[in-house]
Chain length 336, copies 2
């Protein structure tokens, strides 16, 4: 038995048992039963030193790789079903690295009903993780197109916390000590911001609710920044999104961080990436029904603006409107 095969066997053991998997990892391809209907599919690649800091905890990386893909399915209103995981890693770091990545991804995916069914391993100069997820839209899928003038704009969670968390993680890494702490920021606030970056919450339940109840006219996951993703939704829908500065959900953790760093928290909320929150639009006539249905989810969902005629995305404040659709995370720039 080749060492590579032993590793594949260990990975296969992470594929959870039960359900309609006909053939799991270990053969040339995985085979699952499929019902008739629609299939939503997405893939995301995470590269060490670009999408995450060097020497991060591999299991947490796996969780994050799953979460960013689950967030894409959430934004389509699709119920996660299965995923494939390809991992490149420097062999000298040991086979525990890909195993921990797969364990983290499988555990995170399982929380949302998705199962690891296959994958690939390769040697690489740094860690590279590519997951491909698919799922089933129960109702008509949510897309970025469909927002109409007069619709209300909502966002889940607290955009900007993840970017603040990355900022914080970089500083901690620069001190080369996990014990390095910032006196200006409480341990709770630090932990919350770091978790927002390291372990984002894909909004699967919200996306399913929006799609299945026909509550949203358009949706996108905020992966690159509220500004740029609002611009994308606006462009796909052929409308303009106007967000109101004072309505942005700025958390006390982000406020404290921004105060300590002497930065504007709204810059983080608008231009920070890696949030994996849902930005979506609701017809004004559906707002009451929307409020009633989403209150059961017990999560922060905030009205932040309106859909207008025109193009682009803007932030409206006391000094007028500022265009924000070019503000966001650049995927071609390294995080370190």
């Amino acid at each position: 038995v080749k060492p590579e095969d032993r590793l594949v066997e260990k990975l296969a053991a992470l594929a959870l048992p039960g359900g309609p998997v006909e053939i799991g990892p270990g053969d040339d391809a995985a085979v699952v039963a499929r019902e008739a209907g629609l299939l939503a599919a997405t893939t995301d690649m995470l590269v060490e030193g670009v999408d995450f800091l060097p020497d991060e905890d591999p299991e947490r990386l796996g969780r994050r790789a799953a979460a960013v893909n689950l967030s894409d399915l959430a934004a389509m209103g699709a119920e996660p079903e299965f995923f494939l995981l390809a991992v490149g890693f420097p062999p000298e770091r040991g086979e525990d690295v890909p195993l921990a990545i797969a364990r983290g991804a499988a555990a995170r995916a399982a929380e949302f009903g998705a199962r690891l069914i296959g994958g690939d391993l390769s040697s690489a100069p740094q860690i590279v993780i590519t997951a491909a997820f698919w799922g089933r839209p129960i109702a008509r899928p949510l897309t970025r197109a469909g927002a109409r003038p007069g619709d209300v704009v909502y966002v889940s969670g607290h955009p900007g916390e993840a970017a603040a968390g990355l900022h914080l993680a970089r500083k901690i890494a620069a001190f080369h000590s996990p014990a390095a702490r910032f006196a200006e920021l409480s341990a709770n606030h630090q932990q919350r911001l770091l978790a927002a970056f390291h372990d984002p919450n894909p909004r699967v339940a919200l996306g399913l609710l929006l799609a299945n109840e026909g509550l949203a006219t358009a949706a996108i996951d905020v992966s690159d920044g509220l500004g740029v993703d609002a611009g994308r939704l606006a462009r796909a829908s052929g409308v303009r999104l106007v967000l109101e500065r004072e309505r942005l959900p700025v958390s006390s953790a982000l406020l404290a961080f921004a105060a300590a760093e002497e930065l504007d928290p709204v810059d983080f909320a608008v231009a920070g990436g890696d949030d994996y929150e849902l930005l979506f639009t609701v017809r004004a006539a559906d707002v009451d029904r929307f409020d009633e249905r989403t209150s059961a989810l017990k999560m922060t969902v905030r009205e932040i603006g309106r859909v207008a005629e025109g193009a682009g995305a803007a932030l409206s404040g006391p000094r007028g409107e500022r265009e924000i659709d070019e503000l966001g995370h650049d995927h071609f720039e390294a995080v370190r």
Copy 2:
């Protein structure tokens, strides 16, 4: 419009029109119609400097990324349907690199009926390509398990040519000149070996025929070397594969190459990787029907051995049997 979005739009234009794609690239996930039945899914990651030589032609890399995944579907007897493509690349090499990779992959996949429906781009220190393909097994999927003592072992094509091609490509790269040629080897032979490595032929038609006509008891794609992959099939089936040295399909190109390099061509045939041929087993009672059906494919399919009781894989020659199930390509070793 962000530069990244412009690139995504160009990539989306590569997704071929027509058919049951409800939502193609450009939204959070792609959505396609799905019939009831089975779904076979596979993923492969290719890393520059590990799975291919640096500075290879990007379009050819894309073709190869598609082919290695299509080969996995072929080995399951699944009809290719769709794929996702994630590309990491150094931004300073320009956006033509991921575009050419996607163009090559989409074109190669289209030859086998599979369509690009989505993907992801990331910055990376070197080119990394991960494709995830899925397809539909029409009949019962082919697996590695199912070979029984007495079955006849077959292989398609000419295993070893790809490894010889890589050997040749390395030498050409070392001369830093595409004009470098080996006087001992005809241009035709060189071209054939290089093509075997750079542009493998996934045996989709053969795999579908084997599955749909119930001709094979087990199958695997020879990606890591005939020896190690024979060992994998043997292990999954709980049998022993005995290949006969004199029956191995050694091409005149491989013979000429081996003579020039003073190497044993059988070493390349048995231990060379990257062939993407199918190794499979057929019940002795089905051999006539198999010969009749496969003759229509007009491709080389050679009987190379027998399934026996026991374990492992061996090469039988004038000096007895040599174990070959640990002989093959190591994925954790770089090609350069």
